[in-house]
């Protein structure tokens, strides 16, 4: 009962303050950014710049092949800008790729450098009338890709195709769906605006109260310090849940597993705000606490990088709590997400959060008069 009254009071107080709205306004801004600025797919179609140093008939063969798949069935003649130069090109677009036929090798080389396409290649005939392929690579292609380029033209293509057809591919799990690039940023936004902002905002609330000496007044009532702290955590959970749904619902509609998402929002919010309480207990005001809070936030942001750059994923990053958090959120919005993973992560945050909360409770009991 006292906890409830404290919670209502905190709600009243925070709704009159400024921090309460930061998260919600941030959520709306992020939503607008997600919907308007981030395209559904980041990566546009693969691009190939091709120069055919071949007799016209052979080039026409290529043209015919590509035109069959071309979206509007005809070539466009355009100019593309590369540095200071304009190159006239023949442009074809299929639903998977963009092909640019360039007029000479210099264009192919320069475009390879400035536009960084998937492929920039020159095809020519040698004296024995066999076709030569010259690829201009970017330098970061893997050995495997390079080997593939080597092998693909030196083997009988029919043989390769036959080999591939004879390979049995068995799917271990079906119904697996992928997120669009827009949807793919949601787990990160949920992690940061939803759960981690709690760390910062609860610390701000505590420092406001410290400034007013209000904790002492609370301490000499028949109510417990943990209720005081928990009512603040409650506010954080409410705002971060609201903020999260503001972003997720318009983007994802009914697809996510909302009960599961709510569970993870609550447990991770509990963890983050308890951590914020512990941190705030060591300082007198925001100024003093700032470096500690900032450092924590930076560390928490690192798993973000691993999320978007899948090739960078050192072992130690997995112990940073935001790593499983991002993954946990991802599972809640995937169509057939791994529910048990999210449940495990939630349980983890609940346990660690509880531990931190107990520490916070002890700390605040001890430092009341300070």
């Amino acid at each position: 009962m006292k906890l409830w009254h404290s919670f209502i009071k905190e709600l009243k107080l925070s709704s009159r303050g400024f921090y309460f709205y930061i998260e919600l306004v941030m959520a709306i801004i992020l939503l607008v950014v997600v919907l308007l600025v981030i395209p559904a797919e980041f990566v546009s179609k693969d691009t190939e710049y091709l120069y055919f140093d071949l007799p016209e008939e052979m080039i026409n063969e290529y043209r015919k092949d590509i035109l069959e798949e071309d979206l509007d069935g005809k070539a466009e003649f355009i100019k593309i800008k590369s540095g200071k130069d304009l190159f006239p090109v023949e442009f074809y677009e299929t639903d998977k790729k963009k092909y640019y036929f360039v007029e000479d090798e210099t264009a192919a080389i320069q475009l390879a450098e400035t536009e960084r396409p998937l492929v920039s290649a020159v095809m020519s005939l040698d004296d024995a009338s066999s076709i030569h392929y010259k690829y201009y690579l970017q330098g970061y292609e893997s050995e495997r890709l390079k080997n593939l380029y080597l092998v693909i033209h030196n083997r009988d293509l029919n043989l390769l195709k036959e080999e591939m057809d004879n390979q049995v591919v068995r799917s271990l799990s079906t119904g697996y769906s992928e997120l669009t690039d827009r949807e793919n940023v949601l787990p990160v936004l949920l992690t940061f605006n939803g759960s981690l902002m709690g760390l910062f905002i609860i610390a701000a609330y505590i420092f406001l109260d410290k400034q007013e000496g209000i904790i002492k007044a609370y301490a000499v009532t028949a109510s417990s310090v943990w209720q005081y702290l928990m009512s603040k955590v409650g506010i954080i959970l409410v705002t971060s849940t609201l903020a999260s749904f503001i972003i997720v619902i318009p983007v994802m509609g009914l697809q996510p597993n909302y009960p599961l998402m709510l569970l993870l929002l609550i447990t991770s919010g509990f963890f983050a705000s308890s951590l914020g309480l512990v941190v705030a207990s060591f300082y007198k005001n925001m100024m003093q606490a700032f470096s500690a809070v900032y450092l924590l936030m930076i560390v928490m942001i690192l798993p973000n990088i691993a999320y978007f750059i899948s090739s960078w994923e050192p072992i130690w990053i997995k112990v940073i709590p935001t790593y499983p958090l991002i993954q946990g959120f991802k599972e809640t919005i995937l169509v057939n997400g791994d529910t048990s993973y999210t449940l495990m992560v939630s349980l983890g945050f609940l346990v660690v959060g509880l531990l931190l909360f107990l520490i916070a409770n002890k700390r605040y009991k001890k430092t009341l008069a300070v």
Partner: protein, 284 residues
């Protein structure tokens, strides 16, 4: 109501004590004054008694509860007014009290009535953030009475208040005490202490120097004094002389015999003068 024995407290646990070997007892129904200069250890003692500071060494029993293992229930019986007012500035006076009363398990007083009592009746719906220092202080004071405390801790209840309001506050304390409330009053204002307290403790440099009633102290330490103003060589002089000490008496007779006396009256030593006499220290 309060039993304290051999209480020590060191903030940094470095052997520098803010409270050192303090022992005293407060009986039910009395107003006990804790007097001392700034930094003497008054607030520290009070904070230990109310659980705001952790008990380090010594035994403390408050309202029947051992402070070593403090129970929330204890606070149903206790009221505490803070030296520095601490109210929610974003809530109105009434909202502050409305919320606070819900944190107790006992019957509480009506916020309006309390605000009226401390002269904030017409400010009930004004946010505390807009209050003056004195008004905030009165709100903090009013809040400390909301749970009908049996034991009432008052830390400097009248500092920063204008004399008229200070005297109203004094009357409220007296009235509550008449109803049976035990009061633990911390102050360096000797007039308030003299007026209100049944017994006072003098605390200086973390230690209690003596405990007695103001009346006894005056009997013991306060010689009857005579304040005399006279004209000597065209100059007006003023002296305060004891009526007991030999040479003072002789000097007094001299003055009356030789010079033109303008005014002369007897006066009692103030608590402040006794404090200085006993502790060798002023109160400022």
């Amino acid at each position: 109501m309060i039993e304290v024995s051999n209480l020590y407290h060191s903030y940094n646990k470095d052997g520098k004590f803010a409270v050192k070997d303090v022992s005293f007892e407060v009986k039910e129904g009395e107003i006990f004054g804790f007097l001392g200069p700034s930094g003497a250890g008054k607030s520290t003692t009070q904070n230990i008694l109310t659980g705001l500071l952790q008990l380090q060494q010594g035994n403390v029993i408050v309202a029947g509860y051992d402070v070593k293992a403090i129970s929330n229930k204890m606070f149903n019986k206790i009221g505490m007014s803070f030296e520095q007012s601490n109210v929610y500035s974003k809530m109105s006076a009434k909202e502050n009290l409305d919320f606070y009363r819900k944190l107790f398990d006992v019957k509480t007083r009506e916020p309006e009535e309390l605000l009226e009592l401390v002269g904030l009746g017409d400010k009930a719906n004004v946010r505390a953030g807009e209050f003056s220092k004195g008004m905030k202080h009165r709100l903090t004071f009013a809040r400390s009475m909301i749970n009908n405390p049996l034991l009432w801790f008052l830390d400097e209840p009248t500092t920063g208040l204008d004399p008229a309001i200070a005297s109203e506050i004094k009357d409220i304390i007296k009235a509550e005490n008449k109803k049976g409330v035990t009061v633990f009053l911390t102050t360096h204002n000797m007039y308030i202490a003299d007026d209100l307290c049944d017994r006072v403790a003098f605390i200086v440099d973390a230690e209690i120097k003596l405990i007695d009633s103001p009346k006894n102290l005056k009997l013991q330490y306060g010689d009857k004094l005579v304040e005399i103003e006279y004209i000597k060589d065209g100059e007006t002089l003023k002296e305060t002389l004891s009526t007991i000490q030999e040479d003072d008496l002789k000097h007094l007779q001299d003055i009356i015999g030789k010079y033109e006396v303008q005014t002369m009256h007897t006066k009692e030593a103030t608590l402040e003068e006794i404090f200085i006499k006993v502790t060798g220290r002023g109160l400022a």
